[in-house]
């Protein structure tokens, strides 16, 4: 086996046309004329706002951005963005986006999905998009409930969740979306939350720049069917102690000052959260999203639990690896060094094999 350097692009937006020099876009340019129809107080509003505000900074031509969604509350997202968009069918957005991204390197393709859409009905497409590393930015709005169908438990609802379809409590083991994505060979995996605009935008920025599939889990509050699911992460005091901040080059830390705790690696190689004062500096885990081995990122993802006593937030993994769409296009390009086939070449293909002539 030898690897060939195909000179593949390294940025997520390489190949996507930029605005002309001096041209500028604002949030307004990305706001469609459609009335937004989520419930009042829905976390989706904040995310939409953040995305509309963030997109101009990419400097891409608006017509070269496409949002594709599945079905669910979050999947109405494309209607509200004045880019190209498709509101598709339940769970299939990553598959549809794969076809688009593979055939159009000049587009920045985003998938908007939810916990039911991505992890239940569309689980297969999600893991395969991640494993292939198609250049897609997948925003997974996780509200741990089915909203659009009015409140059934989802694949991220905790065991015991009492919902419309589980009046006696759910007995289903939930997915940890981060662990799942890492297990599916994802090259970029991050978690953020609707209420932290700055963090959300930072993560989106990194995702956009990443070449390949980027999975961004966004904790999103559904005030109607699962209100307050993430309150402990939003409360200024509670969150400080619970959120494990993933910042490259820094120890993974929760809390501040004397109450700060850091993640260390034990003798058994496991990760453990201990008070920072007195922690063995040699054992303190310094976050490195670009570590080739996903084991550390996976271990970090396991800090997450149903009671949310510790929740890592930030970019778990961000590594460069060849993307499916670049690879597919490279093969097509290599097969056609002189551009598209000519009529004669096509005729030669049809006339290939054993032929014979019949004369009149």
């Amino acid at each position: 086996m030898s690897t060939i350097d195909l000179g593949m692009p390294t940025s997520g937006i390489a190949g996507v046309p930029l605005l002309a020099h001096g041209e500028q876009q604002t949030k307004r340019d990305f706001t469609s004329d459609q009335e937004v129809r989520w419930c009042p107080g829905c976390g989706d509003y904040i995310i939409l706002n953040a995305v509309q505000s963030f997109l101009p900074e990419l400097g891409l031509r608006r017509e070269n951005i496409v949002f594709i969604s599945g079905i669910g509350c979050s999947s109405r997202f494309p209607y509200y963005l004045d880019t190209y968009g498709m509101h598709s069918i339940h769970g299939r957005a990553p598959a549809i986006a794969t076809g688009l991204a593979t055939s159009r390197p000049d587009l920045s393709v985003w998938v908007v999905t939810g916990d039911g859409d991505a992890l239940s009905i569309g689980g297969n497409h999600l893991i395969h998009a991640l494993r292939r590393n198609v250049n897609l930015k997948i925003l997974l709005f996780n509200n741990k409930i089915y909203g659009l169908t009015k409140g059934q438990y989802s694949p991220t609802s905790e065991v015991g969740a009492v919902t419309k379809s589980t009046p006696f409590g759910s007995v289903d083991q939930p997915f940890n979306p981060i662990s799942l994505a890492l297990g599916a060979e994802a090259s970029f995996v991050a978690r953020t939350i609707d209420s932290d605009r700055k963090h959300l935008t930072d993560v989106l920025r990194a995702a956009a720049q990443h070449r390949g599939s980027a999975l961004v889990e966004i904790y999103q509050n559904c005030p109607i069917f699962n209100d307050g699911a993430f309150d402990v992460l939003k409360d200024a005091q509670e969150s400080v102690a619970r959120v494990l901040r993933l910042v490259d080059g820094e120890p993974v830390r929760a809390g501040e000052g004397d109450d700060a705790r850091v993640v260390i690696r034990t003798d058994a190689g496991e990760l453990e959260l201990v008070p920072e004062p007195g922690a063995d500096p040699a054992r303190v885990v310094v976050h490195d999203a670009s570590a080739p081995n996903p084991a550390a990122a996976f271990a970090m993802s396991r800090f997450d639990g149903p009671d949310m006593t510790t929740v890592p937030m930030g970019i778990f993994r961000n590594v460069a690896r060849p993307t499916y769409d670049d690879g597919v296009r490279a093969q097509v390009a290599a097969a056609s060094p002189d551009g598209p086939a000519t009529d004669d070449e096509l005729l030669a293909l049809l006339h290939g094999g054993d032929t014979w002539s019949v004369t009149g």
Binding site: Y84, T98, L100
Partner: protein, 629 residues
């Protein structure tokens, strides 16, 4: 020494263990016949298992070839010659063999063990059970090994060349040149000179064996069939379909993106297209059937020709996405190589039972265009046509072929130049097509072409035309989400009207007598068997008309008139009467079905018999009426 007999047609069936190379032998014999200008039609028949246990009945694979000095039309009702490489092949095929026909068996394989595997208590070669046939028991394996005595190869490798020995023998019997096979072997074994030489030697030895063995005293020749002038090649339906798709993309000057998931008997479409990258073809082997059609639709949204290929079970899985494509009004080509169903059914056998699934197998009123290819070679044109309709009308098109067309082959008259083929150029929207309330130019994605009712195809990357589409009902024109009852009613009818308005040629009727009272109507792959059956019936004086449908949605505009102008319409289908059900409902004509679902095409005799029966009944009716008048 030998004596050469001229014959009009012959049907040869090669049968052996899956590992015996019978498909290859059949393929080569076909090519060597085709280059002589002899018309032919082939039918491979293989088990669903890749290698069932050796020497057993389930492991038998066969290849039937009909060649004729006239239009062959079908692979032939029954073999004139059976080549049976082992007892299982003999046992599995004997029932199809008319008395008096020829059997060539590999006597080496008639060992006690092999005989008992298939339940022969004693060797049929030693008793009188094969008395009704002309049997040539030839120790094919041992003669081949002997012919290769000087080769430094293992016994297994030598034995493997027995199929080439057999091919040599048949080539002698039917005066076939060996040059094509020489060239083929030279390419195939370019990197294994020993194996190449062994195969060439075995091939020559088989030929020489025919020449020198008294048992094979007669050689047969079939003259070239009259065919339209032109250049021909032999082609299977799956190759023709793949080439048709690539050609259509070339004529549309658009990239073609195939999203596919492996499934018998459609996988060869994926294989063939994956080799055509040079022609702007991208293939995506998706994680499942749903993703396959999804990626094709995503590519269509981006301005490519999105294609997905599958068989019945896969079509079932794709139905929701095809419905989305109906709502999005984007081009999408879906190819269903039908096989026996329901469920897994008969993966390697043919059937036409997906018709209603193609027509209606989606939620809601969800009309699509449906085309059915008539013959292996016709798959080329049918594929081109599917792309034309999909791009012109921005609609999903389902192209139905089947296992028989996919793997069967026939001579194909090649286009002499690419210009002969339709120009499929497409125009993408590039300008706003409406004005908003304030009079500003805007783009409305569901503004339609007045003639085709196709909506504008505006692809991402086009400035100023940013828009959103989706599966929720949309207001005609603006494309905005609309739950308005009147709009939904209008959109449902408009989508149907768009399909109904697709321009398709009128149905042509073949009625040499000019006064036939019975019409035999067919669709799809029954073309050859029906034409052959009608030819048989006419040869005995029957006055019968024949017509064949290629467009099933929409149906030709003159179909109702055609159906009503005959006293009786007979419709043979390889299902339980699906098209008959549709036509009865739509035209209120009392269509008579003739159905069979054996996983094999109809035979000509079967069709001719059905024709005779219906003609008898018609005569009876006339008689009754006269009697009571």
């Amino acid at each position: 020494m030998s004596n050469l007999k001229q014959i009009n047609s012959v049907v040869v069936r090669f049968a052996g263990d899956s590992g015996d190379g019978m498909q290859l032998t059949g393929d080569r014999f076909t090519s060597d016949s085709a280059v002589l200008g002899i018309d032919l039609s082939t039918l491979p028949n293989f088990p669903a298992e890749i290698r069932a246990p050796q020497g057993t009945l389930p492991g038998v694979s066969s290849f039937q070839l009909h060649f004729a000095d006239h239009s062959a039309l079908t692979p032939g009702d029954a073999p004139d010659v059976l080549v049976a490489m082992n007892p299982a092949a003999l046992k599995a095929n004997l029932g199809d063999l008319p008395r008096g026909s020829t059997i060539i068996v590999n006597s080496d394989e008639f060992t006690k063990r092999n005989l008992s595997k298939v339940g022969y208590p004693t060797s049929p070669l030693d008793d009188d059970s094969l008395e009704a046939w002309q049997v040539h028991a030839v120790p094919l394996t041992s003669i081949t090994v002997e012919a290769l005595a000087d080769f430094d190869l293992g016994r297994k490798d030598k034995e493997r060349a027995k199929n080439m020995f057999t091919l040599g023998l048949l080539s002698w019997m039917y005066t076939r040149p060996l040059d094509g096979t020489y060239a083929f072997l030279r390419t195939k074994f370019a990197k294994q000179p020993d194996i190449l030489e062994a195969n060439l030697t075995a091939l020559r030895a088989g030929h020489a064996y025919g020449e020198t063995t008294e048992a094979f005293s007669v050689q047969y020749a079939v003259a070239p069939a009259p065919m339209e002038p032109g250049t021909y090649r032999n082609i299977t339906g799956n190759v023709a379909t793949a080439y048709g798709l690539a050609t259509a993309a070339h004529r549309a000057k658009l990239p073609l993106v195939l999203g596919s998931y492996p499934i018998t008997p459609a996988s060869d479409l994926l294989h063939n297209l994956s080799r055509l990258k040079h022609f702007g073809v991208t293939t995506i082997q998706a994680e499942d059937e749903i993703a396959a059609v999804g990626s094709a639709l995503g590519a269509s949204f981006g301005g490519a020709i999105g294609v997905t290929t599958t068989s019945g079970p896969g079509l079932a899985l794709k139905s929701e996405t095809i419905g989305l494509a109906v709502a999005l009004e984007l081009p999408l080509v879906v190819i269903d190589v039908q096989r026996g169903g329901p469920s897994t059914g008969l993966p390697t056998k043919t059937e036409q039972a997906d018709l209603l699934q193609a027509m209606f197998g989606r939620n809601g009123e969800s009309p699509v265009a449906v085309i059915a290819a008539n013959s292996p070679a016709d798959c080329f044109e049918a594929a081109v046509d599917a792309v034309r309709i999909a791009t012109t009308y921005r609609t999903p098109v389902i192209l139905l072929t089947d296992g028989y067309l996919a793997n069967g082959s026939q001579p194909w008259r090649l286009p002499a130049s690419i210009d002969e083929l339709p120009d499929l150029s497409v125009e993408f929207a590039s300008e706003p097509n409406a004005t908003d309330a304030k009079g500003n130019p805007v783009f409305h994605p569901y503004v339609r072409d007045a003639e085709t009712l196709a909506r504008a195809w505006a692809v991402p990357g086009t400035p100023g035309l940013e828009h959103r589409v989706g599966g929720i009902e949309k207001a005609d024109g603006t494309g905005e989400i609309s739950y308005d009852p009147a709009n939904h009613d209008h959109m449902v009818r408009t989508r149907q009207a768009k399909i109904d308005g697709i321009v398709v040629p009128d149905l042509a009727v073949d009625d040499p007598s000019g006064d036939a009272k019975l019409l035999v109507l067919g669709w799809g792959s029954t073309y050859g068997p029906i034409a052959a059956g009608v030819r048989l019936a006419r040869a005995t004086g029957a006055r019968v008309a024949r017509a064949h449908l290629r467009n099933l949605a929409p149906l030709p505009a003159n179909l109702g008139d055609v159906l009503r102008s005959y006293d009786r319409v007979l419709l043979p289908e390889m299902n339980l009467g699906q098209l008959a059900l549709l036509l009865r409902g739509k035209y209120l004509v009392d269509i008579r079905s003739h159905t069979a679902v054996r996983g094999l095409p109809f035979t000509a005799v079967e069709i001719a018999t059905a024709i005779d029966e219906h003609l008898d009944k018609l005569d009876g009716l006339v008689g009754d009426q006269e009697g009571t008048a």
